[in-house]
Structures are given as C-alpha cells and as structure tokens.
Symmetry: C2
Subunit: 466 residues, 2 copies
C-alpha cells in the first residue's frame, strides 16, 4: 500500500521556510572557496570544497566519504536503503569555471553577494547552488520528518569543468557503488523565468587545443614577411577551413552519424514559447549566423556546432609590434548530437587539419575531452514523477526541452547502467554560467529545494514495491 | 681643391682603436634604459634615453637640444658648417621594441651582456648600437683631428617603433631645421656576415588593429553555441578572407599601383649569393608559403605581404573553458611596395572587412600607422661615396639590396626634401631584431664605426665645392 506523504511534506516544507536564511548563508560559505578545476594552482581549494561538502553530509548522519582519484577527489554519501522504494542518485560537481575576465565582475567572483534578488558568485548556479537544493531537501526530510521516502546516494565530483575523466574511471571500475534506479541532476536552466523545464536531450562535446609552430623564433615582419609561413595567418586559415559559408562543418564524416530531426520533434520545438528577437536583443546582438536550414532552437539544442573558445598569438599589448610570431594557438570544440562519436570526430578533424596545414608549419592537436550526446524517453515514470514534483513546487508543469551543453558524466552514467537521468535545472539562461557575474535567483534556489522535497516523495509514490 | 684626408683618417682610426672598450661600455650604459615606446609605462625611460644622448652630443661640443613633442622628445644636434662640403644628416631612434616574451631571453633584455662576440640586449642593433657608430665616428674626428670634413646633423627620435608620427609632424612644420644634402641611416642589416650592403629600396607598411564584438557578455558555448555569431570564429574567417590560396591579397584595388618588377631587377636579385635552403633551415622551417610566381627574395623585398602580428580572444589559460567569447581582436599589417598608398589600402581594407563581417558582429578597425615604400637611385654620387667608405672599412665592396622592412621616416624625409637617403646597415639578419635575444656582433659594431669615419671624408671628397 502506497503511503500518503502529505503530512511529512508539510513538515519538510515548513523546515525549509524556517531555514531559508541559514541555507543561503551556508551556500555563500561554500561559494567563497575558489574551486577552479582548470587551474592546478587551485588544487588545495578543490580539497577544501570537497571537505566542506563532506562535513555537511556527515552532519546529517549520512554515510559519507571522500574518494581520492588521480585528480580532484569524489565525495560520496548515502542514506539507508528504504524497503520497497527506489534509490535515486544525485550527481553534481563542486568545481567551477575560471573567473576570467576578473575585471568584468561587478562584485568579486569569490565574494558571494546578494543583489537584485539573486546570489552572485562563480559557481552560484553551476553547480554549487543547484546541487545544494538536493542537499537542503534531504536535510529538511531528515530533520523535520526523521527519514527519507527513498534511498538517496550523492556522487559529487570536482572535475566536471575539465572533462570528468576520474569520475568516468570510477564508474567503469566500481559501478556497484553507484547502483541506483535513477540519476537526478540539477546543472541547467529552466526554459525561462517561472517556466520550469525537464531536459530530455543533451549535446555532447569534443574539445581540442591546436598549437602551431612556424619559425623557431619571433621574426621582424618587415625583414622576413613573405619568406616564411606565418603561424597566426596559418591558424586563421585552418580554423576558417573547418566550416563553410553555410555553417556546415568541413570535417570528413562529421555528419555521417547525425540522425535528421523528426517532424514531430521539430514541431514540439517550434511550439515552445520562444521569442527569437528578444533572445538576440538580450544578448546584445542585431543578428546571428549558424547552420543554414535550421531554426535557432534547433541549432541550439539539436544540431552540432563549431566554436572557438580561445585564440592567442604574437603581441597582444598596447600599440604596434611588427613581429612575425613563432607560434599561434587556439582552443575550440564541436558540440555533438546523438550518435556522433567524439573519437571518430577526432580522426576526421586530424585529417582535415593536416590537409589545411601549410608548408613551414608544425601542428600539434591535443584532444582535451570528448563526450557523446544523450537523449532520454519523456514517457518514463521517473520523468513523470519529476513532472509532478515540479508542478507542485512551481505551480505549473514543466515543458520538455533539450539543452545545448553537455554534462559529460550523463553519458558515462548511461554507459555504466542504462537508467533514466532526470535533468531538472533550476537556473535561468541569463544567469551568466561560465561568464562574469554568474548568479542564481533566490526564488529559483528556494523553489528548487521545494521541488526536490516533492521529488523524493513522488519517486516513492511512483514505485510502490510492496 | 680637394683635400687628401689620409693623415686625418689614420688619426681618427687610431682613436677608435684606443677607445673600443670605452665605446662598448657607453653603448651598454644606454642599452640599460628600457626605452620601449609602445608602452606608456615606459615614458620616463624614453626621457632618460633622450637625456643620455643629449649629454653625449654636448660632451663633444655639438650644439644639441631636446625638442619636446606631444609624444617622446626628439634629440637634435649639429656640428658647425664646413665651407664647400656637403651636410649629412644622421637619423636614428633611441626607442626600442617591447621585450616580450621575456622568458625567451637568455640574458635579461635590459642587462646588456657580451657573449659569443656580440652584445645582447633589446636595442643592441635596433637602433641604439647602429646609431652610436655615427656618434663614435664623430667623436673620433673631433677628438683626434679636431674637426669634421663635412657638417653633420643628428635628428634622433623616440617613436620609430610606433610610427614616427611626431617626427613626421616636425619635418612638415619645421623642415628648415633638417636641411641637408643627404641622410645617413644605419638601422638595417648587411647582406650576410662579411658581406656589407647598401639598401636602395624599402617596403612601406600599413598597420591595423581589428576588434570584433559579438554578444554583450561571454556565453556558455554549450547553452548558446549555434545561436549567435562567435567573434573568434568571425575573426578567423575575416582574416582568412584577406588572402587567397595563391598568396594574393584580397582587397579591392590592392595591386592597382604595384609596378611589375623589371627583368633587370629580377636578374640583379637572382644573382645575389643567396642560399634559400640554408635561409629556411636557419629559421627552423622545412618549407615556406608566399605569393605564387615570385622567388623568396622577391617576396621578401619587392612584393607586398599580409602578416598577422597578434591574435587574442576568450580563454588562453590552462585547461579547457567552454566559453563563447564576447570579443576577439587582431593586429596585422601589409608591407607595401613603391607607389602603393597606405590611405588607399585602408579604404579597400575597410570595404573588404565590411563584406566579410558576419551578422551579429560589430567591427572596429583602427589604423595604427602607414608609410609608403621607398626606392633610391644607385648611381648617385652619395651612394658611390658610401660604397667607397664601406669598401675601405670592410675590405670588400657592398652589394646592392632591398629591404623588406620599412623605416617610416625615410618616406617622410623624402617628402620633406627629395634628397638621397643612404641606408647603410651594420647588423645581420640573424641578430633577432624585434625578437628575444637581440644582439649586434662586436665586429660589425666596430667596422661600422670605421666605415662611418671614412664616409664623412668620402662625402667631402665627392663634393669639392670650391
């Protein structure tokens, strides 16, 4: 017989309201730790961020441990099994993106600041703030009710922003630790303010660094210009050669495994309340380019892309320097859609760059990380439980969306055990993820906690095993 | 009646030999001043470098003054007129290029170091060392002989590396101060070790900075990739669009004013003892690209080029950052050949970049500086006087060469008063001008001083006016 959890839900919700300020304060405490995984200098901060989390879990009486890896440690915690109820595993990450350009922040990235009804800090939404909603809902159940309606596992890593390689290895080597019935991840955005969403598709990514070397030293561009291949010129030519004027990526085999969008899905995307003009105006651009023949939302969620993330060569200082630089480099990635294989992309890319590389240039291509795309069935009872939880916390049902970004570990979870992954993001698109002035609205933070409280009950109700 | 200067030449030469160590010491003293004109932070060092020079001139009893400009000051000095002899004006510059990348220097750029028979420092050859050869030859004449065979004027600036705009203005406003019969400049290289040269042609330059702005803030490349134009992608496309696969520059009207190379000149260039394979091997490259249909020396000296000097965008740090950058920029220039007009090039470039600029990108093109190319008659008696002076100091006659770099002020001198400009460089191509580990060989420094001593006598002998 299924329980009715309404009394418990009221008690847990009341706990959350009573502890709102305390939840924000502890969130800010965690945000002060600059746990930047891309920069080896911040390695000790990764440990501190992991230890802080461990302490929270232990404070709630959960079994918790820090699992060392060759990189940043994993934090693992679990509550006791619940007879007849499913086990949900919450995944999240305590590492954050670099904060550059620092001067563009209105308040320092690691001094969390409340303004305009939001918390501003690097990691405010990605992913410390969103992850904490599930920890605080767990605290509310345990403190106000004394038990959880489902078993919860938490598997939190510190390398999401640099490719999650050690968590992937952990899932390959010790999948039994992470056995569960569904994975819950809050590391994305709603469809808009007051329009919650469940994401059923994620793009993958293949990320690279290209380094070109020309003459063995910087040369005077007057004395030597015209005699040798300039690596910066070569870089521009080679990068430009990766995409044509119709926005099609020029890599052998790149589109081979891309399935065309179904008419049904194109219709669903077209029916979303999306204002393209407003979207572009909010970003401050008067127009856009992209792959021909697709709508903006299709290009954003369901088509592969090529984006340069960083460029460098020669003299970047004040004034003029007439140098013919010895080196040039770029970081770039391709966003991938379902069935594209990052390893296959790398082969084609290498071949194409070799074709494009002019005489007199030595090229080095580093494969930084790669992860395939993910697509989930919207009909699953887990997804439907999440729909109901969100409906109760937000007062309206979620829409179904896809997401342009990748959460590398989602693909790894699905390879370890093919179970549903619930992507329930509490942020907003204009929360400046990966950019200066990252934030999470307080209203979204608190509704996220409430939705999480409901989610544990809805999952239990959806699977009455006895 | 022409004098025979042999006794005086012997005395002056003996003075130079006796003072070799002192000349090097004072040269090193000047090199210690980091007079980097491109960086406003070094403004006080420009003043110090100018003051040091002023003191040297005054110590020799020359009339000397520091002429303020809106930028770095000019240093002007002159010896008394010599009845019946021409007036030669020595031009040079006391400013230097930035020293980046600092870590590539074997000894610090502003701690002059003698090793391998050379002086290593930023400015060792460009142009402090080369300019000093004419000051030390003047000192030798004045101290050992008591007078100069010709009147000498020195006009030395501190903004050569950033376009010479204030010296150009000075020449326009007060050309009478610089009236002379010929200009002498040592700011270049010999054709090779022990093969002195006189340069009869210089390329011009048109230097630009291109800044692109896309979305008003950095974006997450997953959530936004495909929706807006990426400024770094746009930069690569636009720069790549300025040159075709045959090395021809794709700007409307770019080649309109370029005169084809004469058969005679192509023959003269082909007859120079130039080893292309060795040249490329010395630079550490296995091949080269450039404009099709021209030899390497033709491309180097007599054909226009396009070179990128600096590129920047997005994340350049360690590891991966999945940012869609808000901005991207580049510094680049075109080397120009005779009759190309920098202003006309700018018009064509702006038009071409506007064609290439994709929707969603705002572009700003800054014209940093422009100067036309120069070509001089090799038959002139001034040139022939320089031939004899070099022959005596180096023990072999100079070859006639062109130079790929520009000396912006040479064009300005020729506009102010169309007189011969003698380009007698004492450096070598592998002296790392504008690069780490800049140097000047001591043997070239000292032979330069000797050649300069002969030059003042040969100019007097070539023009017996009474």
């Amino acid at each position: 017989m299924a329980e009715d959890w309404s009394a418990e839900l009221r008690r847990a919700a009341a706990y959350v309201e009573a502890h709102a300020a305390d939840f924000e304060q502890r969130w800010a405490q965690w945000l002060r730790i600059p746990s930047i995984s891309a920069d080896p200098a911040h390695r000790p901060d990764l440990e501190r961020a992991a230890d802080w989390l461990l302490e929270q879990f232990r404070g709630l009486g959960l079994t918790a441990e820090k699992i060392p890896t060759a990189g940043a440690p994993l934090v693992y915690a679990e509550s006791p099994p619940v007879q007849g109820a499913p086990t949900a595993l919450v995944y999240g990450h305590y590492d954050v993106q670099p904060a550059e350009p620092i001067q563009a922040w209105e308040s320092p990235p690691f001094e969390p600041t409340r303004r305009n009804g939001a918390m501003y800090a690097r990691g405010a939404t990605d992913d410390k703030g969103q992850l904490l909603t599930h920890l605080w809902s767990t605290e509310a159940w345990l403190r106000a009710v004394g038990r959880l309606p489902v078993q919860l596992k938490f598997l939190i890593e510190g390398e999401e922003e640099i490719g999650s390689s050690h968590l992937e290895q952990f899932l390959r080597d010790r999948p039994q630790r992470a056995v569960c019935d569904c994975v819950v991840i809050s590391d994305g955005a709603q469809f808009g303010p007051d329009q919650p969403a469940i994401c059923y598709g994620l793009r993958g990514i293949a990320y690279y660094e290209l380094r070109l070397k020309g003459p063995k030293r910087d040369l005077h561009s007057g004395s030597f210009g015209g005699t040798v291949t300039n690596p910066a010129n070569a870089l521009a030519q080679m990068l430009a050669g990766l995409v044509d004027e119709r926005g099609r990526i020029q890599i052998p085999g790149f589109y081979d495994d891309v399935t065309p969008l179904s008419a049904e899905e194109r219709e669903r995307l077209a029916s979303l309340p999306f204002d393209e003009e407003k979207f572009l105006a909010d970003l401050g651009v008067s127009g856009a380019t992209g792959e021909e023949g697709y709508t903006l939302l299709e290009r954003r969620w369901a088509r592969p892309t090529f984006d340069i993330h960083g460029l460098w060569s020669g003299y970047q200082g004040e004034g003029a320097k007439t140098v013919l630089p010895a080196e040039a480099g770029a970081k770039f990635s391709f966003r991938l859609v379902p069935y594209q294989d990052p390893a296959k992309i790398t082969l084609g890319l290498r071949q194409r760059l070799q074709e494009l590389c002019p005489p007199g240039i030595q090229m080095e291509l580093l494969e930084t990380h790669g992860t395939p795309a993910v697509l989930a069935p919207v009909e699953s009872p887990y997804v439907q439980a999440a729909v109901r939880a969100i409906q109760q916390a937000f007062g309206r049902p979620p829409v179904f969306i896809r997401e342009g970004g990748s959460i590398p570990i989602v693909a790894a979870f699905q390879q370890a055990f093919p179970i549903p992954v619930l992507l329930v993001g509490w942020g907003q698109d204009d929360d400046n993820t990966h950019a200066p002035n990252e934030r999470l609205r307080l209203v979204d933070f608190h509704r996220g906690i409430q939705a999480s409280i409901y989610l544990w009950a809805e999952l239990a109700l959806a699977f009455p095993r006895h």
